[in-house]
């Protein structure tokens, strides 16, 4: 694009105005606050965020249950997570995220299984606490090697007056202090999955840490190089391809939150010397708590693309002694030629390609560096469920004039893509087929489209290949029929 920054800003403003015209006035006013073209140098992106969605205006957001069960708790592999309530939502979302793990499913690991109390009418009318007790008992018999149980509340639980906390305490006592965690993540709470993350973090604080603090002992031996990976859900192996870099630089990873993680690792985490935080949005709460209560410092990092990995490795190393710092440099040097080879192969094919993103968590900003390493340009980005602190952080990544859209509706996003005509859209499966059918190359940036990992040096090679495959497919030349529609 040869347009100047100012021209691009003007174009983006015009696009936003056009989109807003289609709304009733009151609604247009409200939506206007969520859309902007970034003004370089400003401390945030100029959009409002974390505000409730409108009835009849579907966006891409999930709910609190999704944030707690789907994101934070679900990957903890040696616990059984009960979707407590009717069969619907838990079943619909079963295995949506590819949180990889090692273990024997159904014996000592349960991540890809789905457990529900399958409420019937009588449970709604008479309450489900008795059933929940029975379920806990059944799980102890069916899966004796489980290391804990979490109770993930679905919507009706919050209305019928069930006391799942009491059941949890009673059953924990009955089973000799077993970890049983009630989570009040009913879907109607909050404005998106974001509150679910927070509730899930708080439940770890209240039902895991507090219990551990009061007498629950472990035989953990500290070392000066202990770190915990926080906010990596190991989608497609992301945490594994990250962990190896930390280990190569001499650190000891004592815990993974929560991809391929165990409840014992979670319990040990306050003993880490440093918490390294990838997904800030979903796990900043517990990181702050550990800092306050246990004095564990935390640092954000970004393992997408060699530039950001390099900076992050140095940043993490800066919290340790010179041995670690030197080793970090060795790791960087070791992978440099490999990364150069990837860039040499793909950059000539991808240089200048324009990308629009719309994702959740950390990705709308974190992946930008990886695209730029390939010579690509981010022309628009937005978050599903960000807060203002996310948009502040985003300013470090984006360029002047970038189009910003918070909690975007399908209608808005389609119009923006039609207006901007990017070479690639990176978003979720809900949008995938809209854009694909419009003839725009598309990659799912939640689940990596069954590919991945994208984290770490190994991940970058896969990321580059996937982006090239999407953009360079011969199919994009065939879409036009030779006759009139």
């Amino acid at each position: 694009m040869t347009a100047t920054v100012e021209e691009r800003k003007a174009t983006n403003k015009a696009l936003i105005d056009e989109v807003l015209k289609a709304y009733p006035e009151k609604m247009a006013k409200r939506r206007a606050k969520h859309l902007s073209a970034y003004e370089g140098g400003k401390p945030d992106c100029g959009v409002k965020s974390n505000i409730k969605s409108l009835p009849g205006v579907m966006t891409i957001r999930g709910c609190a249950y999704a944030g707690s069960k789907g994101v934070v708790w679900g990957p903890i592999k040696d616990m059984v997570h009960i979707s407590h309530g009717p069969v619907g939502c838990g079943q619909y979302s079963w295995a949506n995220r590819r949180n990889y793990y090692i273990g024997t499913t159904g014996i000592d690991s349960f991540v890809t299984m789905q457990f529900t109390s399958d409420f019937q009418e009588k449970d709604i009318v008479f309450g489900g606490d008795k059933k929940l007790e029975k379920i806990v008992d059944e799980i102890q018999v069916l899966f004796p090697l489980n290391k804990g149980i979490s109770i993930q509340s679905e919507c009706p639980i919050g209305l019928i007056g069930d006391d799942i906390e009491a059941v949890s305490k009673k059953k924990s006592k009955q089973y000799h202090g077993k970890t049983i965690v009630p989570v009040r993540c009913e879907g109607f709470r909050g404005v998106s999955q974001s509150l679910g993350h927070h509730l899930a973090n708080d439940a770890i604080r209240d039902w895991v840490f507090d219990k551990t603090d009061t007498g629950h002992t472990s035989e953990f031996e500290s070392t000066p190089y202990d770190v915990a990976i926080i906010g990596d859900y190991n989608i497609g192996g992301d945490a594994w391809s990250s962990r190896i870099l930390l280990e190569e630089m001499g650190l000891r990873v004592i815990s993974q939150w929560s991809g391929d993680g165990t409840i014992a690792e979670i319990e040990n985490t306050p003993k880490a010397k440093l918490n390294v935080l990838h997904c800030y949005r979903s796990m900043n709460y517990i990181s702050r708590h550990m800092e306050e209560k246990y004095g564990t410092p935390w640092v954000e990092y970004n393992f997408f693309g060699p530039s950001k990995i390099e900076a992050s490795l140095r940043e993490i190393a800066s919290h340790f002694d010179d041995t670690i710092k030197a080793k970090a440099e060795e790791v960087i040097a070791k992978y440099k030629p490999l990364m150069q080879a990837v860039i040499d192969k793909y950059k000539p094919r991808l240089q200048g390609k324009r990308v629009m993103l719309y994702v959740g968590g950390l990705r709308p900003r974190h992946v930008i560096g990886a695209y730029e390493d390939l010579g690509m340009e981010i022309v628009g980005t937005g978050y599903e469920f960000a807060h203002n602190d996310d948009y502040q952080r985003t300013t470090h990544y984006i360029k002047d004039s970038t189009l910003i859209y918070d909690d975007v509706t399908g209608y808005e996003f389609e119009h923006f893509v039609e207006g901007i005509k990017p070479d690639l859209v990176g978003s979720g499966i809900k949008e995938k087929y809209v854009f694909q059918k419009m003839g725009v190359p598309f990659r799912q940036m939640h689940s990596w489209d069954y590919s991945g990992p994208y984290h770490g040096y190994d991940g970058f090679a896969i990321f580059a290949r996937d982006m090239d495959m999407a953009i360079s497919s011969p199919i994009w030349g065939l879409t036009k029929a030779p006759w009139k529609a």
Binding site: Y92, A95, F119, E121, K131, V191
Partner: protein
């Protein structure tokens, strides 16, 4: 024939069942220019939407009333009204179709009353049909949601009209794919009959590229067609789940009905074609006579691979009956049958028992079976048991082309037979010498005759292969 047993467990482990709002949404997605809406929290719609997208690989029109903490307690009138107005204003659908969820049913929202009130207060909605189905998550399952939605469509939109002798209404069950509907419509039209398919996901979810993009459904039964169903001479339902809607049509319009419990198999399609011949006064077209002969030939070719195999199958009632009965006719034994809810279909299933249970029940019952049959969530059980999985029903998210799969009519039955037979051909056990363990004496004897096989120095590494044809 099958005896129904309910699982005793309180905990559903790896559930088979989907809940009602999803089934209702599928029915609504078969109406043209329609906006389906779930009355519940945004999460319900979000999850349902993703699952529909993953199965159909299509953009899906689905809206939410976005209930929140406050409105969940106070009641959802405001959200219903706001949703209706916002949808009408921006997407201008012909039909807005609402189903309820566990949240709003637990609260007890009177959506019928809400809609009546909105109608009075908001004349800008006068040009929009509004359908409402009551579908709490905690009652029944997917087929029930679909049945309730279909019945609600009929009761809300169909009125009596003068009968057209050559028109029939086809009510496909929720287990029929777009490809199935195309096949059945072709069969009926071949007799010179005109067919109203209700709902018709073959127009909206058949995996095509739409020429434009409106945000509502694009294709499906139009409002005019739904209304025109009041003139049909016959209602033909596929699956027990269509009976309520067919009875509603009989009650409202007086249309006689005929429910085919399934259209997968040879004999059931013989009956369908004879019924169509009778209705139309036309002979069975040559094309279908040929296809019958091809199906019979396929059954003969296939039965060598399906005869005597033991099958573990888990599906919603009508799909279980359709696929289970065909496998039985192909000589298979339905060793383990799992379903979701009670249904008159179970009485027809050629099996001893049907468990109303989950995929754990399937996995436990499949240990001595040769084949597992269920939706994509059965893939883990199949992997653990190291047995083949035939994917049927909803959701099948790990295969492409679901919309075009056809398992009804002679042709669809034939395709299903080939699919099963080819899956079983891949499992044919090839005997190996170690199946007849040779005694130590014999091994010693043999070793003095033939030297132990030398290890190759070749860089290629072919695996040990036992020959087979």
């Amino acid at each position: 024939m099958a005896h129904v047993i309910e699982s005793k467990k309180a905990c559903a482990v790896n559930p088979l069942k989907m809940s009602q709002p999803l089934g209702a949404s599928l029915a609504f997605l078969g109406l043209d220019a329609c906006m389906p809406v779930m009355h519940g929290s945004q999460g319900c719609t979000s999850f349902a939407l993703v699952l529909l997208v993953r199965h159909f690989k299509e953009a899906i029109a689905l809206q939410t009333t976005a209930m929140n903490e406050v409105t969940s307690i106070l009641g959802g009138y405001d959200n219903i009204e706001a949703a209706l107005l916002n949808i009408r204003k921006r997407a201008a659908p012909k039909i807005i179709a609402i189903c309820s969820t566990g949240l709003t049913e637990t609260k007890g929202d009177d959506v019928h009353g809400f809609v009546a009130t909105v109608r009075k207060r908001k004349p800008e909605l006068d040009d929009t049909a509004i359908v409402y189905a009551c579908t709490p998550d905690y009652v029944g399952g997917f087929e029930d949601g679909y049945r309730n939605a279909l019945t609600a469509i009929v009761r809300t939109l169909v009125k009596p009209l003068p009968v057209k002798a050559d028109q029939l209404t086809l009510l496909p069950g929720s287990h029929l794919s777009p490809g199935d509907i195309v096949e059945l419509r072709e069969m009926m039209e071949a007799f010179g009959l005109s067919v109203i398919v209700l709902p018709d996901i073959s127009g909206s979810l058949d995996g095509h590229i739409p020429p434009d993009w409106r945000g509502t459904t694009l294709g499906g039964t139009t409002l005019d067609e739904i209304r025109a169903a009041g003139a049909s001479a016959l209602t033909l339902g596929v699956g027990e789940q269509t009976r309520d809607a067919a009875l509603a049509l009989q009650e409202i319009v007086g249309t006689p009905l005929e429910i085919f419990d399934r259209l997968t198999g040879l004999e059931v399609n013989d009956r369908l074609l004879q019924r169509l011949a009778q209705l139309s006064g036309q002979p069975v077209p040559a094309k279908y006579r040929r296809q019958r002969s091809q199906l019979l030939d396929a059954m003969l070719d296939g039965h060598f691979y399906t005869g005597g195999i033991k099958v573990a199958i888990a599906a919603e009632p009508d799909l279980l009956l359709a696929v289970g009965s065909l496998l039985h006719e192909m000589g298979a034994e339905l060793r383990c049958c799992v379903s979701t809810t009670k249904s008159a279909s179970h009485a027809l299933l050629p099996a001893k028992t049907v468990i109303l249970g989950d995929l754990e029940d399937l996995e436990n019952g499949a240990t001595d079976c040769d084949l597992l049959v269920t939706h994509s969530h059965g893939r883990q059980a199949a992997a653990r048991l190291n047995k083949p999985l035939l994917r049927i029903g909803f959701p099948v998210f790990d295969r492409v082309g679901n919309a075009h799969r056809c398992q009804v009519g002679y042709r669809g039955t034939m395709a299903l037979i080939f699919e099963v037979a080819n899956l079983m051909i891949d499992q044919i056990k090839h005997h190996h010498a170690t199946d007849w363990p040779v005694s130590p004496e014999a091994l010693h004897a043999a070793s003095t005759v033939i030297a132990a096989p030398e290890i190759s120095a070749s860089p290629t590494q072919p695996s040990l292969v036992v020959a087979s044809a």
